[in-house]
């Protein structure tokens, strides 16, 4: 028993030092992010969650070289599963996470089984096709499960059989909890941070293990791997499933911090984002994708703060008439860069029925209240008062 535990936690001195430093950096985020203006729980939660997503993606892309363009599908499956766990079973986060990881793993097994028959660009296109198929199905035939473009959210009439077996139904919508303790914003961040540390430790174990070396060898020369007696497909499949489970875990954490799951999490832009995070930080390195995820989420946040008044202030040196033009152009560029179109959200606020956006990723199809009004900086309330009673 002691031997097993020793093996389980055995790691090199260098890995141990990396883990200790990483732990300190993550847990001290509220301190060192404060001067950068990013020390608020919502953003720090995203840092932790997307770091998990990128870590998992890197196990597939960084080690085996298989570039998946459909990893957001697993993120979406994780979110939907977690919200369904909240709705049907309990608001406790542990079953939500377990179900999300298992289901996204099974989903990854199915997609991997078909996609891993091909390599290179053909593999990428297949994963992209499956993810887009999932995205479109979530908006069409799977609406009873996904709630379509309204997004899957909590409801006052949810069965929550486990919770209600022990306590009567409380007024109002419940929040995610851990063993009965409801999270505050900062607590939710620390929960995500602990999950990130566990995910990082597992990734470290994979990187330094013989299994990790086999995955690198697949990237290096798959032919030789076959003629050296390895079933490379099983190795690639395992990496794909582990990676999908990481994405599912990240998806469930997104639902825990905000119990709302929309199909836009499965969209190709979300898949592309994790590719960018990994490449930006350094493919195949352990810490690189984490830094990539933090940088992208940080700058996304900085850019989203660029509103009219901030830009007017910035371009104060430009003559009056010209300044309006410069600010208008600059705003357009900002919104485009973020793939955010504020207009449907504005329409939603005015209670004008919005059109289906058919995958253009409008703000209406996103959880609307997460997106700030570019003019005022205030968040929109969802159309129709948000949660249905």
């Amino acid at each position: 028993m002691t031997m097993t535990a020793k093996t389980l936690f055995a790691m090199s001195r260098r890995d141990l030092i990396t883990l200790v430093i990483f732990t300190l950096v993550v847990l001290a985020m509220p301190m060192w992010l404060s001067p950068l203006g990013a020390a608020y729980p919502g953003l720090m939660q995203k840092f932790a969650i997307y770091a998990i997503f990128a870590l998992g993606f890197n196990i597939l892309f960084g080690l085996t070289g298989y570039l998946s363009f459909g990893h957001a599908a697993f993120l979406g499956v994780g979110s939907y599963t977690a919200v369904w766990s909240f709705k049907l079973l309990s608001m406790d986060v542990i079953p939500a996470i377990i179900f999300a990881v298992i289901l996204s793993g099974i989903f990854a097994l199915a997609i991997g089984y078909l996609s891993l028959r091909r390599t290179g660009i053909y593999f990428s296109i297949l994963t992209l096709a499956f993810a887009q198929m999932s995205y479109n199905l979530a908006y069409s035939v799977l609406t009873p499960i996904t709630n379509g473009e309204t997004s899957l959210q909590l409801n006052l009439r949810d069965p929550r059989v486990l919770d209600l077996a022990f306590a009567p139904r409380a007024p109002g919508l419940p929040s995610a909890s851990l063993f009965g303790h409801t999270f505050s914003g900062l607590e939710a961040f620390y929960f995500c941070a602990v999950v990130l540390l566990i995910a990082f430790f597992i990734a470290q174990k994979i990187f330094s293990s013989p299994f990790g070396m086999m995955l690198r060898a697949i990237k290096s020369n798959q032919t030789r791997m076959n003629y050296a007696g390895f079933n490379t497909r099983s190795y690639a499949m395992t990496a794909f499933v582990i990676s999908g489970m990481y994405a599912g875990l990240a998806g469930s954490l997104l639902a825990i911090t905000d119990p709302l799951a929309g199909a836009e999490r499965m969209q190709w832009t979300a898949s592309g984002e994790v590719v960018l995070m990994t490449i930006l930080g350094g493919v195949g390195t352990l810490i690189g994708p984490v830094i990539g995820a933090w940088l992208i989420k940080y700058f996304e946040n900085i850019f989203s703060a660029f509103n009219d008044s901030a830009l007017h202030h910035f371009f104060g040196f430009v003559p009056d008439g010209l300044r309006e033009v410069v600010v208008a152009i600059r705003l357009q560029i900002c919104w485009r860069r973020l793939a955010i179109d504020p207009r449907p959200a504005v329409r939603a606020c005015r209670r004008v029925p919005a059109r289906r956006d058919h995958g253009r990723g409008s703000a209406y199809s996103r959880p609307v209240r997460q997106w700030p009004d570019p003019a005022t900086g205030h968040c929109f309330a969802p159309a129709g008062g948000g949660v249905t009673p």
Binding site: T7, L8, A10, M11, S12, D15, I202, K205, I206, S208, S209, P210, F211, G212, M213, M214, R216, A217, K219, S220, N221, T223, R224, M225, N226, Y227, A228, G229, F230, N231, T232, S234, Y235, T238
Partner: protein
């Protein structure tokens, strides 16, 4: 080519291989005795490498079968054939250029020990002492011990070939197929490789060598087959 009285470990039975209208192999019948070194010689384009490709499962024969140790190899996947004990050194070195020399040699040892697949993530690579020691021993034998931490991609062609040989030897194969093992090597490296192969020969490993260099062939071969025009 028949040695009916001997202990036959590999039997290539009436193998044909056609590429469209081209008959790369025609009616090949070859028997390899256990523990012997069998050289196959012939001009370029005679089908020597195609024959090896058929044996290791890279190519499926158009007709005929390959039997190894009483089991039919035809139709099996390359990794299954390797797991049965048939290992090949390629004409153009097939290595893992991004891994270190030591890792290149360690990797095949895991296939030998753990089978075609094992998701072993708990034991760190550095803790695999037995495999590491064996890999270092073999690297010492092929003269690459000093370069064990180098990137395999940075080795010279001759060194890559010796490393590939080490990758095959660590699996202790029942049958070792060598496709021009000394091609591109200097005379000194060739002699070192011959000495190494003679040492392996003493251990009783069965080998099939394809070679143009008659000095190598006569130094190592117990039997010689000539392949010309695919037959």
């Amino acid at each position: 080519m028949s040695q009916s009285d001997a202990n036959i470990v590999l039997h290539v039975a009436d193998v044909h291989k056609n590429f469209g209208g081209l008959h790369a192999l025609a009616d090949i019948d070859l028997q390899i005795e256990e523990g012997k070194t069998h050289a196959i010689i012939g001009p370029n384009g005679a089908g020597k490498s195609t024959l090896l490709n058929v044996i290791i499962g890279r190519l499926a024969p158009s007709r005929g079968a390959v039997v190894f140790d009483g089991k039919v190899l035809t139709g099996k996947k390359p990794h299954e054939i390797n797991q049965m004990g048939v290992v090949r050194v390629f004409q153009t070195p097939e290595i893992f250029p991004e891994l270190s020399v030591l890792q290149n040699v360690m990797a095949p040892a895991f296939a030998k020990r753990d089978g075609a697949f094992r998701a072993n993530i708990f034991m760190p690579l550095d803790a695999e002492k037995t495999i590491r020691d064996e890999a270092e021993d073999i690297l010492n034998n092929v003269g690459l011990f000093e370069r064990r931490q180098s990137h395999a991609g940075s080795l010279s062609r001759g060194d890559k070939r010796r490393m590939e040989l080490a990758m095959c030897l660590i699996q202790h194969p029942k049958l070792l197929l060598l496709d021009e093992p000394t091609a591109g090597m200097s005379r000194h490296d060739t002699n070192t490789t011959i000495a190494l192969l003679q040492k392996i020969k003493a251990s009783g490993m069965t080998k099939v060598i394809i070679e143009h260099d008659m000095h190598v062939v006569f130094s190592l071969a117990d039997r010689i087959s000539v392949l010309a025009g695919g037959g």
